[in-house]
Symmetry: D2
Subunit: 339 residues, 4 copies
């Protein structure tokens, strides 16, 4: 349920409605917009009627939200969520490209990648310091020294930094270095982690689990919202199907579906979804054409020697060439991307 207040409602009227909601046993999530305040009413499926609230002064109407996600629902907040980071705006007119290596491997590798992706028009640097790997015997990332290299690359290039955090106890450490906290696909339903990033005071990039429905993705975003963080972008990164010529199957329709049902920005990862650099350009063009608000792309100065995901990483010239094509497609649909 949402209580929509009148434009002219006073602060004390809003407070009275919140008090009324809580007395009925629900939680109130007020959201003050430019014109009016709306209040989300969250609670179990009890049969208590909220209709009495509609008689309180200042209330315009009460709206029922059928889907299980409430705060991230477009019915609750019709306007697109726009997130600003270091002068970069995500969710607005411009589509934003995040690029960089899968894993931070060395100072040289990271700085080379950072300068190159910036030159080609990327606005945000990606790179993993903590790497979730299927095998305990694979390279697990450089940890805090990787975070330090990311901070150095940010200082050198001015790019904002997005990097993954894998467990609640690392959240404050990662948040002290990164501009955007990434929650990886395998952790999409790690609720303790969702709550921790919900309290971290940093924008969050939440990746869809490879086995998760769009509804579950939005429910996980709801966890972050309900813990107090409304700067969430969701990321489609391919789902698991029976098809074997690609690593995963990019669910391109997730873009219009999420934008219909939610106000959150949608980012697409063309690298993990295809798993093969030969297909990354097509997937990226498709994502921008379908309305994505951004891309997160793996680019490596020397994919052959990468410790992680080499086959799906673009070479630097391939990335630059792709950016040129993306600019043309973005223009065709009235958006901007890149330089």
């Amino acid at each position: 349920m949402i209580v929509v207040m009148k434009c002219e409602a006073s602060i004390s009227q809003v407070s009275a409605v919140i008090k009324g909601i809580e007395e009925l046993g629900f939680k109130a999530h007020p959201s003050k917009g430019a014109e009016r305040t709306i209040i989300g009413v969250i609670g179990s499926n009890r049969t208590v009627s909220l209709e009495a609230l509609s008689d309180l002064p200042g209330v315009e109407q009460i709206v029922h939200i059928a889907k299980p996600f409430k705060l991230v629902n477009r019915e609750f907040k019709p306007a697109d969520t726009v997130i600003s980071i270091n002068g970069v705006t995500i969710g607005g007119l411009e589509a934003v490209v995040m690029a960089g290596p899968c894993a931070v491997e060395s100072r040289d590798q990271l700085l080379k990648a950072a300068h190159a992706v910036k030159d080609a028009g990327a606005k945000i640097l990606r790179g993993g310091a903590f790497k979730p790997r299927t095998s305990p015997y694979d390279f697990q990332g450089l940890g805090e020294s990787g975070l330090e290299l990311l901070a150095e690359a940010r200082k050198e290039t001015g790019l904002a930094v997005v990097t993954e955090v894998m467990t609640p106890s690392d959240v404050s450490l990662v948040a002290s270095y990164a501009d955007i906290l990434q929650v990886g696909a395998r952790n999409m339903q790690n609720y303790s982690l969702l709550e921790a990033v919900g309290r971290a005071g940093r924008p969050v990039l939440l990746k869809r689990g490879m086995m998760s429905t769009i509804e579950e993705l939005l429910m996980s975003a709801e966890y972050i919202f309900s813990a107090g963080n409304s700067e969430v972008m969701v990321c489609e990164r391919g789902i698991r199907t029976f098809e074997r010529y690609t690593r995963n199957t990019l669910d391109i329709s997730a873009i219009p579906v999420i934008k219909k049902y939610s106000h959150l920005p949608v980012i697409v990862d063309p690298s993990h979804s295809t798993g093969d650099r030969a297909f990354v350009r097509s997937a990226s063009c498709a994502a921008i054409a379908a309305g994505a608000d951004g891309l997160i792309v793996e680019v490596h100065p020397s994919p052959e020697t990468a410790l992680c995901d080499g086959p799906q990483s673009l070479r630097i010239p391939e990335f630059a060439e792709m950016m040129t094509q993306l600019e043309a497609i973005a223009a065709a649909i009235g958006r901007r991307i890149g330089k």
Copy 2:
């Protein structure tokens, strides 16, 4: 295996190689190109060596093709297959839009749709006369009288016609009315039907089964080729996954994957893959941006009263508006579409 003949090889040299192939127990599929002839060698996985053939006069080299599809493999024929129908070219610079109702319902419905989609830039009229339906109690199509209406619409508008054929005994009937024979998703592995359309002397639109891999799709195309028909286009129409906000999941990466491994034109069906007209435009834009050679789109003058697939059919003005956007995207990647 493929035997690549020298440019200057004579006809009798080609014949001698074919004879040599057959004497080793294989079948030969010669293909005469502008510059040279290449000969596909097809047979079971026997361990007989074909190396002896390389000593025959006129042979340049012998190439092994690892994938199980041979004649539709891009290694066998590196140049794109281009199909011409009534002055429309599929697989070339221009992306082609096929549009019309799911099912032919009446003269009025079909003609209205045909004129409208032509006006908006479609080049081919779609419409089902024989409808495969999950339930025996649902509308099964008008049958031959539906084919007659399609022929009338073609005469009136000049649009070529694509329509589905469901069983071998109907192939000659449908071929007498239609310009392109469609094999539906449920029949992708109906091998008797594949062989029948392989002998029909009409271009074929082969839809991917909702449960089929890209490799299986190309193997089914191989059936049609090996029966003698090389005018085949394949169609990605969404695969079945666990996601429930869309009817199927459009496998957008199938476009670059098929174009890498095969020379066949790739058509995308944004209607069946999403199942909801709200998502058809995004899916169509994505498909063209990803390099599809065409679209097959459901358009209905009055979706609310459609006997079949109403919720996923575009209204006529929505289709026209989408065509305008597609023109811009096609231009951005150096192709043309529409008027």
Copy 3:
């Protein structure tokens, strides 16, 4: 809808109800049981009320069936369907084992297999004469001479024969040799074929498509029923998932699900579902324990030389050993199997 007649209803009362149904624009499917007649009412989702029928003499009640399958629905016919073939009963107390090679390859191979599976307790001989193969270059079966060998094996051993029919024009040929017509997984939604076997006057084994839902399987059985053939058994043969250690994933829960919603016998194919003979015994034991009415198992005298599906075919001694274990499990749940 189903019209349940009173026990004492007369023939003319039944006729009057049928006439009433038809006058309302529906089709009537009367089914005369030991105690009473029930009449299925089939038609499009029109909003015509059938309530008027309840006033006709002899009508006890009118029951609404919510699921889209009607005639194969257990609400329509609560008692299990039992099919008798050559003295073998399918769907009753005894679970029935069908066994034999994937493909009929030679007289020697087939007779050796037939005698061996009979000795071990199988009641029905399986073997393909027409083989649907993903590749046009693979062995496609012996065709009619394979059917002749099956008939010879039946004569020698007394086993009934089940074999696949792939296209409508072959139905009468195959029906002239076989006791049970098999519709394969790839043809589960080949509606022309379903209608043809529906008129063939032979019991049908309908295999579930590898990515078809249980509801679609039952809808395909409904096609056969509505064409006039009520001797249908359905076969779970594994569905396609992301798991790669088995060829398909045996959907063991399909057994209780189908038995809850339908009255049809359920057969399980442990060979195609696992794709590896190492797992066939466990899958077979599971199927019998879960309540399957039978198994269809690939057994080959010499799997190493099989032209088709060798890796999943049991050797003869493995099959005999498995039958002993199945006897114990069947006994534990109060059923019989084997000798």
Copy 4:
């Protein structure tokens, strides 16, 4: 790689081999069996040859393990892993039933369930104190007071307790109450949690992610092993497919597959895999017949009022009845279950 030592190898010979392994840049995992010691050699895919080790005194042979999981691989340890907890043995001749409510809701509910499942033959009590829920607005479990109730139920009934732990910082708390730590399906690839339970000194029940392959499940078990905990049992709980008549699809073949490739005990969850109590009995019978080492079943004194998973929870008399049938099936395959 595994180094198999001779039976008569001395401790100092083993130490010398371990030193040799480490000098080559690998990690050594020695495992002392009753007859001989074997040493797992773990490391990245480097091309360093270990053949030199075969010349060291006391080495019998060096075995290459192709699959990515090593310590949990049956090639590394051919004998079944058997875990003893409070006199209950998991992985031996007896199949063990774990039963109880989805969530601990109250003292009365839990004790009623505990006594009832014990009377029917269960050996271990299940019940969630920390509940991972898709929605932040659903009941999240009683937390530590739920753990206290579980400890009380153990004291009253003598049943061992299995309960879920969701985040690394809770591991020591949960381990202070529980006999078995459960890692839930959503956390199967929460590597921080896997490492934490790997150091917890308690047996672990690791549930398969609902869209994880068997190989990934065994890789996650490898994480726990490589952190030092070899008391791991894995649990098949249904995977996500396109089928909609059940909540998930029980992958029954996972039982023989895991038992072929790994030495770990396999537990089956018939409740989450089917999602409907009507199908739990069939699924349980199938699992025992297929060779599962145990079941984990949801049982509730009053499913209608359950705060979680009511529709899939068995009523107490249904559970007792099922246990009787399971006893007969276990006997038929030479095992024991229940009282």
